[in-house]
């Protein structure tokens, strides 16, 4: 396996980790709100969150390219902030992957929060727990399986991401050339041997990680 292959693997792991952590931070309040609110905005926001499931990834990538480009609103904002344009950068990939993997993190969390119901929170409140207290000591432990599923899905979905990165990444080794793009390049260049090897590594790695996580889940979570 070449240095560029290894670089692509490392970059993919870095991207998936950063994206999963940021999504957990961003999606926990969002999912909490979606699970609790009686607002009329609940349905439209919920539908909006699911949108990345509808569009083909390359189409999402194409619109992100326009959105982040010099004529796009995000592009003008990032340019004005002095960051420059986001396509072809690692930060750009992070933002794009967050859009793409959003429903895979929000939805398990929302379901987990909904399943907790009112009751444990009411009990906590009668025991004079502040809202923050009850969130930390009641909701978070009860929603652990949801967090687990959300992390696994968010991570796996980002590792397997292809179309979006292809559209906005520009295949820069070490910066935006993730493993799926590297495999695709091998296929396109008809280097099928390298492609098979890298695909096998990706599959084996993902299988082992998922296996270990499920073991862990069985041992530590009572679900």
């Amino acid at each position: 396996m070449s240095g560029e292959d290894l670089g692509a693997i490392w970059l993919t792991l870095k991207l998936a980790t950063v994206v999963t952590l940021l999504l957990l931070l961003f999606c926990t309040p969002l999912a909490w709100w979606l699970a609790r609110t009686r607002s009329a905005w609940k349905a439209p926001v919920g539908a909006l969150v699911a949108m990345p499931l509808i569009l083909p990834p390359t189409v999402i990538g194409f619109y992100l390219l326009l959105f982040m480009g010099p004529q796009g609103p995000l592009g003008q904002l990032s340019d004005w902030l002095g960051i420059g344009l986001l396509p072809f950068t690692f930060s750009g990939l992070v933002i794009a992957s967050m859009v793409y993997s959003l429903p895979f993190v929000v939805q398990p969390l929302q379901t987990a929060f909904e399943q907790i119901g009112q009751r444990p929170l009411e009990v906590a409140a009668t025991l004079r727990a502040s809202p923050w207290d009850s969130f930390r000591h009641v909701v978070l432990p009860l929603a652990r399986p949801g967090f687990f599923t959300a992390s696994v899905l968010g991570f796996a979905h980002t590792v397997g991401e292809f179309g979006v990165v292809l559209m906005i990444g520009g295949s820069i080794p070490g910066q935006t050339k993730v493993i799926s793009v590297q495999i695709y390049d091998h296929v396109e260049a008809m280097q099928y041997g390298n492609a098979h090897l890298l695909s096998a590594v990706l599959l084996a790695f993902s299988f082992v990680v998922l296996l270990l996580l499920h073991r862990y889940r069985k041992g530590h979570l009572h679900v």
Binding site: F62, L65, L66, M68, G69, P70, Q71, G75, G84, L85, P87, F88, L166, M167, G170, S171, I172, Y184, D185, V187, E188, A189, M190, Q191
Partner: protein
């Protein structure tokens, strides 16, 4: 009554002109536009029905070697047709260059690129888009140009699209200020469609011969050879040239 209806339909099916064949043509993405026009004319002139499937040449190759039901391939390079012939998936004596690609350095901004391409050496840009050199002939040709001009150091600013179409999107959307694209994407009837560009001299890069070949599985389909002959007609070559391709005299 019912028997009559069936008989009528059967008669209609049988009596449809024996010479009208179905043709499925795999076309390299960069040739999509001219080929749509050519196919429409060919259908009118020959009575054969043509369906077109577009894709990157590498993908079309993978499909053909796994049994895709194409009759003719219009590839973006020479090597794919050659490989298919070697593997006996295509007929050797049908292979010919139907168009020669021309590389241009292009920007979506007017007056950004001068007619001698000095903007490259001056270096006043952040990103230079090219097609993937490993997969796309236009990408490999772009690397030839950088090398010929002694500008290899620009490789840090390269962003690679998976195909020439993709490289064009990077430039057209303004995300890359400059890019090496196919002249056929930005040029029509002797002028730039938009933006500004430099026509890269052909001697700075490997030739971009795009070859067509008839696939072995449609050996007996007269429409396939008719289409290949049609591509050699003077009026069709003029049409191909109007899209910015070179055609051999």
């Amino acid at each position: 009554m019912r028997f009559r209806l069936v008989a009528t339909i059967a008669a209609l099916l049988i009596s449809s002109p024996a010479r009208a064949e179905q043709l499925l043509v795999a076309v390299a993405a960069n040739f999509a536009e001219p080929m749509r026009e050519i196919a429409a004319q060919f259908e009118r002139d020959s009575g054969h029905a043509v369906r077109l499937a577009f894709g990157a040449t590498g993908k079309l190759y993978a499909q053909i070697s796994n049994g895709a039901p194409y009759d003719v391939l219009l590839a973006a390079d020479e090597i794919t047709a050659e490989k298919l012939v070697e593997q006996q998936l295509a007929l050797a004596d049908t292979r010919f260059t139907y168009a020669t690609g021309r590389l241009v350095l292009w920007s979506a901004q007017p007056a950004r690129v001068d007619s001698a391409g000095k903007v490259l050496a001056e270096g006043d840009f952040r990103r230079l888009a090219i097609a993937s050199p490993a997969a796309a002939p236009y990408g490999a040709a772009a690397m030839d140009v950088l090398e010929a001009l002694g500008l290899q150091h620009l490789s840090e600013r390269l962003v690679r699209g998976e195909s020439i179409t993709h490289a064009y999107q990077f430039v057209a959307s303004g995300n890359a200020e400059l890019g090496f694209v196919a002249r056929s994407q930005v040029y029509r009837d002797g002028r730039w469609l938009s933006g500004s560009g430099w026509e890269v001299p052909a001697e700075l890069h490997r030739p971009l011969h795009q070859q067509a070949v008839q696939l072995s599985r449609s050996r007996d389909n007269p429409a396939a050879s008719a289409l290949l002959d049609y591509l050699r007609q003077p009026q069709i070559r003029a049409l191909i040239a109007s899209y910015g391709y070179g055609v051999s005299p």
